[in-house]
Symmetry: C2
Subunit: 496 residues, 2 copies
């Protein structure tokens, strides 16, 4: 194998950020473009990240009183005609099933046959079908609340796709709840926003701004949409999760009514909330570097990879025994309440190549052991978040491994938070905002800016979007475009 280049990923972030992103995914074997247009194949290491995301979030959903269920993939077309704003929001990107058979096309190929009386839409989201089912389930206040989630695939026919961030099909979870009162539904919406924030920050080590979407950025049909927005390493914003208070809009469209304690009939209050495989894109763009992926220890399937180094069969036997005993002792330690996940990589590959594979995969800790280390009862440890490997005593390593993982987890968050802090600005004038985003520049700007057409046109012209009104936004000021008073600053950024 050729000596690894100065950086394992080419181009680097500075050279070509979008291409760097694709190359990290390729080098870490997370995913690849699929034969189906706009779709991706999620490879085992990428899917393992998603499984870890799922497990953690699923526990959090259950701990907050939710259960899982499953609703159909295909939604009769007529259901989409019920909520006008909602269909307007999704009509342009719906995959439609129109036939239920294949027949020879008379030319050696196949053609669709068996035309359906009513076409079916592949769910772009499931409000329209789940609400219809809920309408049957809800009769009395005793039937409420309903708090369900589903893990599912959805299809949105996107024209410009990018692996994990925007694909025609993606995997997600969608929570759908029904409540007797507005207050309870609002509380649910905000509770799930907090579940997302905590997950993003505590597990993904990805700091997020929580806030409410401005009307132009709301989920189609929602009364309030709350979001978590993260800053990627190129200074752009990524919407990483949303929680929608749907008010009575969907319950009116779908006739979700109940008899309340006071014996009057009322429309229910509904919410929905979701995160998707897009989170994996966020993870990459928050932590990966010019050497490849960096996986936060709490989401890693492998915390420590042990690389045995030897030249002869005799050495091999000795080194593997040492490696196995090290593995056993490491697995007896716990991190984040679970035993350390340890892998011994004894594949027949050159040491340098093997080491670089694990660097590119983003394994938090690499441990090289060879006869010289064994003689000293030592190990040679490389931290993915630090520069070079260092020798240390075996016992010392064992005693500190779990703490080191916690330190890496915390360090990744701190680094990302410091980066965001540095690139976040309070902006109070048109000149300042134009300067901040001049050319290809990126940043998070907290700006008093209104909802007027002029303000929107200004943002569009600079390829900016309103990300949200941050939860901690309490001061306002005159709109930087129109001068009209604005109650709270808006987070403005270029976005994925």
């Amino acid at each position: 194998m050729a000596k690894p280049p100065k950086n394992a990923i080419s181009p680097t972030r500075a050279e070509d950020y979008p291409e760097w992103y694709q190359q990290v995914i390729r080098a870490a074997e997370l995913a690849e473009p699929a034969p189906t247009r706009g779709c991706m194949v999620i490879k085992p290491d990428g899917y393992a990240l998603w499984e870890n995301v799922q497990r953690t979030l699923d526990d959090a959903f259950k701990a907050t009183g939710h259960r899982n269920a499953y609703f159909p993939l295909m939604i009769p077309l007529s259901y989409f005609e019920k909520e006008a704003e909602h269909v307007e929001g999704f009509a342009k990107e719906c995959a439609v099933v129109t036939h239920h058979r294949l027949e020879p096309d008379g030319d050696g190929g196949l053609a669709p046959a068996g035309k359906l009386e009513e076409p079916m839409v592949i769910r772009p989201t499931s409000e329209m079908i789940i609400g219809d089912v809920y309408a049957n389930w809800v009769q009395s206040y005793r039937d409420l609340p309903i708090k369900l989630n589903q893990w599912a695939n959805v299809v949105r026919w996107e024209m410009r796709t990018r692996m994990f961030l925007r694909t025609a099909e993606f995997l997600w979870q969608e929570g759908h709840t029904v409540h007797a009162t507005e207050g309870e539904a609002l509380e649910e919406t905000l509770q799930m926003l907090e579940v997302y924030r905590d997950f993003a920050e505590s597990y993904m080590a990805m700091p997020v701004v929580t806030g409410e979407k401005t009307p132009d950025e709301r989920f189609p049909g929602a009364v309030h949409t709350y979001t978590i927005e993260a800053m990627m390493q190129d200074g752009k914003a990524l919407q990483a999760g949303t929680s929608h208070f749907l008010g009575q809009n969907f319950s009116r469209a779908q006739n979700i009514k109940f008899q309340d304690k006071d014996e009057t009939e009322k429309f229910a209050w509904t919410t929905s909330w979701g995160v998707s495989t897009r989170l994996i894109g966020g993870l990459i763009m928050t932590h990966a570097d010019d050497d490849g992926m960096v996986v936060p220890p709490k989401l890693a399937s492998t915390h420590v990879v042990i690389l045995p180094i030897y030249k002869s069969d005799d050495e091999r036997a000795e080194v593997l025994e040492y490696a196995e005993s090290l593995k056993g002792e490491l697995r007896a330690k716990t991190f984040d309440g679970k035993p350390l996940a340890v892998e011994i990589d004894d594949r027949d590959l050159r040491g340098g190549e093997k080491k670089w594979q694990h660097v590119k995969r983003g394994v938090p800790l690499r441990v090289e052991v060879g006869p010289k280390d064994i003689a000293k009862n030592g190990v040679f440890v490389g931290r993915r978040d630090a520069g070079k490997s260092v020798g240390t005593g075996r016992d010392e390593f064992l005693a500190t491994a779990a703490d080191t993982l916690a330190e890496i987890q915390g360090g990744l968050f701190d680094r990302a938070a410091a980066f965001r802090a540095e690139k976040t600005h309070e902006v109070d004038s048109l000149d300042a905002i134009q300067d901040l985003f001049a050319g290809e520049r990126t940043a998070f700007a907290r700006v008093p800016i209104g909802q007027s057409d002029e303000a929107t046109a200004f943002l569009k012209q600079h390829k900016l979007t309103r990300r949200c009104v941050p939860s901690d936004s309490h001061d306002g000021g005159p709109c930087v475009v129109t001068g009209e008073p604005v109650a709270k600053r808006v987070l403005v950024a270029k976005a994925y």
Copy 2:
């Protein structure tokens, strides 16, 4: 509430078996027909069963060296033209996506728009797309084996559907592996059959016959299809899982080639294997009774439900405290390597109604506690697999609860195995087989019967199918229809 009827489910199994099945699903709240034709909504209790199935099987897949990945839902139509037998097998039941937009139809409604250049088929199974991806991954013997699984939804446009057993969309797992040698691929195929057998028998308490499908019942395109076949309580067979040795059929169609150690280029050997939400149907039809669902303890989300009984607020406080302490002590016990799952049901419902709900849900153990039990330091215990509840000491119950669950698990298997043994017959003549299946009669017949058209016509006439050549079938005899020699007896039955 009205006094519960003699049996909680009406009709009973004896009165109307198919309707009983639907009513058990309804009473246990496992699923319901969906608004989408031929599809179902899997309700929380039904989905929890599927989650328990998933978790157990996923562990078994990983323990045998498999990893999960995810491939696209939509397969370009042209891919289906590659393997003739395969497309022949699925062409009649394919949902086809032909458009990617909705537009106003000029009549107040919506219509499909944006016609695709190439239609897409919703996967009925994923050989055609996964094999295409594998063809890129496989270059050298070093790239083999590939052992992946995916948990996914698939669509097969069935005309006659029945919840869990046959629905247009269903959830499943599909394993897809690639090997360098025929022997290794065959070993993989049989290993996964054994994983399925062990899961069916050890977790579902559902005895199965393992065997190989006869050519007429093979998976389209397979060289060998192995199956696990279970007997339902109506004496019919349910194909519960299949494992396919695909030989080089798909690798030739899809060009999955590798350079072997001997430096020659060879086609790889592939397998695929799957089980689906159909297993839940098998679980119901193996164990449920005229009072509703019966969940084997190893797949139960709730092992023990505690029903507090009281008349006043003072009593309530005392009873709930007792119930909570009982719950705490139960959760410190383990069954099948996990803490006992315990639920206290303190809903404001009449005791009888509440108790019957848990009977219908199939919770293995119900514990009623009221002031009189507390005075005696006792509990009143109902086993779902036995007739009436009995009083016992609190300490005795705690000491034996886990063993009782194991006894229930074993008892369910034994009961099903005894039922199957009683209804399984060695049959050696046409008269005997006609007698065995006369009218609506059902059974498992182990018969020497060949593959001739006459034999097939005879079976069809009696609504019988060849289920498999059982693994333990070693004797044969003259075909009961044609008299031609048959090497091994075939399992023949009416089937779902």
